[in-house]
Point group: C2
Amino acid sequence: MLEQALQYAGQNRERFLNELKDFLAIPSISTDPEHAADMHSAAEWAAAQLRSIGMEHVQILPTGGHPVVYGDWLKAGKDAVTMMIYGHYDVQPPDPLELWTTPPFEASVRGDNLYARGSADMKGQVIASLKAVEAVMKSGDMPINLKWLIEGEEEIGSEHLDDFIKNHKELLACDFCLNMDAGILGENMPSITTGLRGLAYFELRVDGPVKDLHSGLYGGTVHNPAQALAELITGMHDKNAKVTLPGFYDKVRKLSKQDHKDFARLPIKGKTIKEQTGVPALWGEPAFTPAERLGARPTLEVNGLLSGFTGVGSKTVLPAWAMAKISCRLVPDQTPEDTIKQMQKYLKQNAPKDIKWKLTYLHGAGAALTGTDNVGVKALSKALETVWGKKPYFPREGGSIGVVVQLQEHLGVESVLSGFGLPDCDAHSPNEKLHLPTWTKGIDALIHFIYNLK
Amino acid sequence: MLEQALQYAGQNRERFLNELKDFLAIPSISTDPEHAADMHSAAEWAAAQLRSIGMEHVQILPTGGHPVVYGDWLKAGKDAVTMMIYGHYDVQPPDPLELWTTPPFEASVRGDNLYARGSADMKGQVIASLKAVEAVMKSGDMPINLKWLIEGEEEIGSEHLDDFIKNHKELLACDFCLNMDAGILGENMPSITTGLRGLAYFELRVDGPVKDLHSGLYGGTVHNPAQALAELITGMHDKNAKVTLPGFYDKVRKLSKQDHKDFARLPIKGKTIKEQTGVPALWGEPAFTPAERLGARPTLEVNGLLSGFTGVGSKTVLPAWAMAKISCRLVPDQTPEDTIKQMQKYLKQNAPKDIKWKLTYLHGAGAALTGTDNVGVKALSKALETVWGKKPYFPREGGSIGVVVQLQEHLGVESVLSGFGLPDCDAHSPNEKLHLPTWTKGIDALIHFIYNLK
């Protein structure tokens, strides 16, 4: 019974929060080999949760990298909907550590927010799903079949999930997948994301002299690798903020008049982005609005730079090498495979002969679009309207979620993308936070959602 | 007696080397505040050496930063030459530590070389001067007056030495200054440097968003600070490797036909630079030879880059800031003061409005030229010819030595620039080394030099 489930959720709020805090205490940083043991702890923790809320066949299944946590409950009958609930138990690295007000793996409530690495992205979302299902299970009338897929490599591109899905098609078969990793547009702006950008992540290294040189003894005769890298990075955009990789825009879908109208209705405005980021002025392709640049246009970003002497004071060194982390956000119908070739072609055409360069592709994912006539989208839309009292927005988002593309490709399964992390949640930044009132409403909305699927 | 002094040096070679190793064991890294105590130990060590070889009035004199070690011996009479011997007891930071074969502060002999930070630049040179003077003192007929000026801030731009010299004009008055920090052109190429480039060292910081952002959620709407920094760095050179700071070349002296001829005679060739550095091709202003680019042309180098995520793996961050260490090598008649203004003007003209930038001037020094008719140059030239059996070369070098300009400016004293560090000594790099056969010959040459000044 719906009322009973909602009441249960209301009565157990304190415990739900404490369980989330326990989950957040595990520093499950998938990109860092030193945290391998923590990755296992987090997987075990998620498996124990699934068992505790009545799921069956709970298993930690190996992949080529971090394992997948699986569990199901299939007693609603053949005619009932089968929903997969996706989640990831890994988090981003917390650095720069010194910018955190409280330690990233000691969750701390201040005002309406819970601060911790992973609170919004996405352990908070995983707990919201678990607790909504727990509430419905306790009420004794779970109307749908459930399958859980909780991976440990989302923050490093879901590299091994692709093979895992290919090899477990029957186990994972379902009507649609609920993916709460896409966030919400605002506290009072319930939303279901219908498009996601893809990703291609690179490391570019430029090598010059075989060792660091005295800048006075060699400066002026040797191409400085840090300068050469800067030149290569600069050339990757033209003056209109367009990416110059050869063929980069060839497969980018043109926006229709209707697309432009849909984007104009979204509450993503330049003013808000300026406020959220504190930049003196916005940047980007002048022919597109900020919402379009984020949702429908591909980008190229420098994620990191390192070369030479970077400590306090000075060192008159001509560095031996320079390195940049560079990633592209992709839109339909771009693919990471094409982007790798385009980046290599750009470097072959533009890298000077007086340095050596090496491009390493680290990971990536395609872009995705979901239709609004999906059974899951309809049920969730109704649930959000019930709880928030207004129709949800349907944005396309700038982020990338590998599993969405993989499920589409291998199982033909569409993802229903939502979540309760606010745009200012600082996912991937210091002081990541989860807005607790939104989270609480979100659990209620998920309970409504499950009954709407009956 | 000359013969007696040379014999003494020959008999005490082993002890000289051991004393050098002791000096090298002190990690006197002037740029790093954590090594303040080591800086004092190194100054004390140098003062004790001066006393032990018979110098008088030995004192450790305070400056606004690391202290100066002074000592003298003025008993040669009023008509004798008074020579100042300059040295510095500070060294560059040893990082990257992992590239050292043996620890940087545990001097290790392998083959003909002594490996340690400071072995060539310039503790080895300081010991060579001390030991040559010791040998002459022991022979009982020191023909000249001596003053020692051993500073602790050469590697950070001799910032406080300027005021120190201004405030101690009488104490430091002399006929010329021997400065062994300029090196030698090759094992069989004795040399006296007649020109030095100056320096202006900056830190440039670009700030974008107030915090690191999720590159998917904001990428395409905010100017990436790492990209903006790369753009600013790229714009600092044109396609002919010329520096574009406004007015940068205004005061650069044009090379005369004779200058071109003098440079052409130097053994600094492109082929050698390629071999020493391992670069696939040289770089620089096409209108000038490599020797001219190093000796007579100013440059702008990136010494370090830092932004965003630089660890193993990936992080899809749009960084809040990016930083570069940038330094210019200056030639006559450029000044660091002009260069600061030129850099600021460049940034004002070229920095985009969508980021904030901050330029910090860290330190600098003017450029210097020394005439070959100087009494010290003549005496050293003869001494080098005696020991090496060939006339020395007179190069202009690419490095910067602040004290040379300061002595010229405040005391009207010219510096005789030489030394026994080879071009491949890896000063400022891992595995810095001193070629011991050259060092030993150098001590003998300095003994001849002192008697030549009689």
